[in-house]
Subunit: 206 residues, 3 copies
Amino acid sequence: MLIPAMVASITTHSNSEGAAPTIAQAFSVVLAVLTENPNRPKYKLIIFKSGGSSSTIRILPVGESILVLMRFYTEYLTFKTAKHREYINITPQVETALHKSAIQEGMILVSAMHITAGVWVNDAEDGLIADIDEWLEKLAPFRKDYRHHRTGETNGDSHLKSLLVHHEVIVPVTAGKLDFGPWQQVYYAEFDGQRSKRVIIKVMGE
Amino acid sequence: MLIPAMVASITTHSNSEGAAPTIAQAFSVVLAVLTENPNRPKYKLIIFKSGGSSSTIRILPVGESILVLMRFYTEYLTFKTAKHREYINITPQVETALHKSAIQEGMILVSAMHITAGVWVNDAEDGLIADIDEWLEKLAPFRKDYRHHRTGETNGDSHLKSLLVHHEVIVPVTAGKLDFGPWQQVYYAEFDGQRSKRVIIKVMGE
Amino acid sequence: MLIPAMVASITTHSNSEGAAPTIAQAFSVVLAVLTENPNRPKYKLIIFKSGGSSSTIRILPVGESILVLMRFYTEYLTFKTAKHREYINITPQVETALHKSAIQEGMILVSAMHITAGVWVNDAEDGLIADIDEWLEKLAPFRKDYRHHRTGETNGDSHLKSLLVHHEVIVPVTAGKLDFGPWQQVYYAEFDGQRSKRVIIKVMGE
């Protein structure tokens, strides 16, 4: 039973003759390491791993970057835009939420909580944003005669624009950062603003 | 070492002088709590947490809502619509799947398993649904001369409509509920119905 | 305390009179199984489960398919298409990444890392692909006068096409396979090619 100063690891192969049960050995290793190293730096975690023919338990020092617990971190942004339609780069807020979550590996859901708003990933270039706005108005134009307006609403086109660009994205997280290409930015697209509307950011990972 | 009647928690900081290993302490806490409270209600779970400079173990009573095990729950819905195009509010089915999963925190993937159907999140208002149907037919119209029809199919427009609205959404789950804004509802959009088609609901979380 | 040859399981109900704490029993079971079965095949893992009124610990033999550790596997694809616009079926690459990850249950994010490309799930039929290309050019046409072109770019339409079809999909994974319907395939859509561009595949699950 090898017990290095900082890391203990034991693997038992199931096809070895008369192998003692891995879990019993694992507990033994834990106890041995703990009693033999009372003044060592903190041990980070214990992992039971098991493949087809082997099982491993490891005691890691604090420095190693493995976590066992899945974590979730949720934050809500609120926007009340000055204009009816407005496009806001919310990449900084998404990065802040990721930082607060301390999650290193996983995914972030960024999703509008309203049915007349969208969330997309694309370029932060003002000319393009104006092009997109014009294009959306062409494909999903304001019209007086939408059936939806019989409810008293006047925002039928805002619903269609939301469907067109979608209301949510999933952002990959690798090594504690948004795993984006060179120009990718997260935008909140407001299609019926001038009132408080929310976006949920949910970070999920470890 | 403080051991409340119902919850035990110990945190050791790695920079404290001569700190005994956290894991050894953790086991001690477990044993102490268990032997001193033989008739207490069940303890829910033990969590090892570890930040840069501290590690914590907690013994929680049954009531507290923390789970360590990531869970997945998968369900399939089948629809055979009466009409060629039809729009069905499937929010109740998504909520039922979430309830069955008992997941409190996570995400739900709701995804059409066919390439001539869609899933979106928007308003449950019949006038709007009719507007959307008309709008989709305008942007992705039925035409006889799609190249795809050389295969014998007649549903080229159904594929384009599916691409336009998308075939899946991710619904956030917080505190055991769909974390939706006031009007958000999940819709299944059938663009080529009158035969059995499936939707997958996969709940992922803890 | 029943201890089958290969699997031990104990459940204690919190409302039973004078029930000893579950966790203490759990440890007892572990030790009992281990000491009584020194030559047994490897035990796979120990799971603490807890419902409202019961807690269970199980010791599983190697064969059973339960894993406790959430895993993430990330891979990057690079494409340099011969043509300006091109559509590539990347289902085999997604399946390969899933196979490498060994994940049985979860989701795969497939996301373009560029803002002039898309990822969708639809049919692998060449006539349909040509229909889609023609349709996208109609809805989001090349034009010389996009404001975005004042930056020196000429790819305004590529951005709009990317917004229209979206840059990412989530693919469900069940029993180690892409949980797709009969005709679903993952496509990478290049709208501004002839240079190196990347797609991230992130598998998340257990």
